[in-house]
C-alpha cells in the first residue's frame, strides 16, 4: 500500500514504512523528478504555472503562497495515499515542515480523505521509541 508520511522527508518513517513492506510516499521522489526532469526550465527549482494551479486546488488564493507551494507538491501525494503516518512535533527548523498552517492543512486533507491514519510523536526516550516503533509496526502490518 502507498503510505503518505509526515514529515514527508522523514528518514525514520521512510525506512520503517519500507521495512514493513509498504511504499512510502515522500517528497524526495517528487523533488527528484523535478530536479532531474529535462523539461523543467533552468534553474529547475522555480515554481511553474502548473504548480500554482495545483496549489490552488487545495487552498484558496488568499492563503499564503508558502502553503500553496507546499500543497502543490504534497497534495498530489495525499491523493495517491492509501494510508498515512504522521509524526508530530518535529523541530520547526525542519524546512518543509516549518509551516504550521500547512501541517494543519495536511492533517485536515488526510482526515477528510478518510484513509487509515496513525499519529505518533518523535521519541524522547527509549520507552517512547519502543512504543512508537511498536505502534508503527502494528499499523503497517494491519494494512495488509
Amino acid at each position: 500500500m502507498k503510505v503518505f508520511i509526515v514529515p514527508p522527508n522523514s528518514l525514520i518513517l521512510y525506512d520503517l514504512v519500507e521495512r514493513f513492506g509498504h511504499e512510502p510516499l515522500s517528497v524526495m521522489k517528487v523533488i527528484g523528478e523535478r530536479v532531474t526532469g529535462l523539461e523543467i526550465d533552468s534553474p529547475p527549482l522555480n515554481v511553474t504555472p502548473e504548480d500554482v494551479k495545483k496549489g490552488l486546488k487545495y487552498a484558496g488564493v488568499e492563503v499564503p503562497s508558502g502553503i500553496r507551494g507546499r500543497l502543490a507538491v504534497w497534495g498530489p501525494l495525499i491523493e495517491q495515499a492509501e494510508a498515512a503516518i504522521v509524526m508530530e512535533d518535529p523541530p520547526y527548523s525542519f524546512g518543509c515542515v516549518g509551516c504550521y498552517r500547512t501541517n494543519e492543512m495536511v492533517k485536515y486533507l488526510l482526515r477528510k480523505k478518510g484513509i487509515p491514519m496513525l499519529e505518533v510523536a518523535y521519541p524522547q526516550d527509549e520507552e517512547d521509541a519502543k512504543r512508537m516503533v511498536s505502534k508503527v509496526k502494528e499499523f503497517l502490518v494491519g494494512l495488509k
Partner: protein, 141 residues
C-alpha cells in the same frame, strides 16, 4: 529517466559499530555499477534501481536494526546541493536530528525482535492536596 535511476542515502545509527568506511568498502566489494559516496553519516549510492535495492539489502545485513535508508531527490554531487560547489544543504538539520534519534528507534526495533511489549506511558495525575500544601509552605519560607 528518474524511474530507472535512484539515489539513496544509507544512514548508520550512532550506536552501530559499522563505520561509513567499512560500509563503503563493502559496497565496492559487491561490484555493482553504482556511484558511491562516503559521508559522515554513512554513504550515498546511485544507479539503476535494481542494483541500488540489491546493495541496500546486502548492506542492511551488516547491522539490520542500525542501518537506515531513504531516497534522495538530488543526484550525488549535484552542484545545487554539493558543499564542494558551495551548494545549500537545507535538509541537513532534519537529517542530523533524525540521525540522533536512530539510536532510540534501533532500541524499538530490537525490542520488537525480542518480542517485548512496550510499556504504557505513565499518566500524569494531579498533585495531592497535602503535597501542594507542603510546596506552598516551602515557597513561603
Amino acid at each position: 529517466m528518474q524511474s530507472e535511476n535512484e539515489t539513496r542515502m544509507i544512514v548508520i545509527a550512532p550506536t552501530s559499530e559499522v563505520t561509513p568506511d567499512q560500509m563503503v568498502r563493502f559496497v565496492h566489494s559487491l561490484a555493482r555499477p553504482l556511484t558511491i559516496k562516503e559521508t559522515c553519516y554513512g554513504a550515498m549510492i546511485e544507479g539503476k534501481k535494481d542494483d541500488v535495492m540489491f546493495v541496500l539489502r546486502e548492506v542492511r545485513k551488516l547491522d539490520p536494526n542500525r542501518i537506515f535508508s531513504k531516497i534522495r531527490g538530488f543526484p550525488i554531487g549535484d552542484t545545487r546541493r554539493c558543499r564542494a560547489h558551495h551548494g545549500s544543504r537545507p535538509g541537513f538539520t532534519q537529517l542530523e536530528k533524525e540521525w540522533k534519534d536512530l539510536s532510540l528507534v534501533e532500541k524499538g526495533l530490537s525490542s520488537l525482535e525480542r518480542g517485548e511489549r512496550a510499556s504504557e506511558p505513565k499518566k500524569k495525575g494531579r498533585i495531592p492536596v497535602n503535597r501542594l500544601k507542603k510546596i506552598v509552605d516551602e515557597v513561603k519560607k
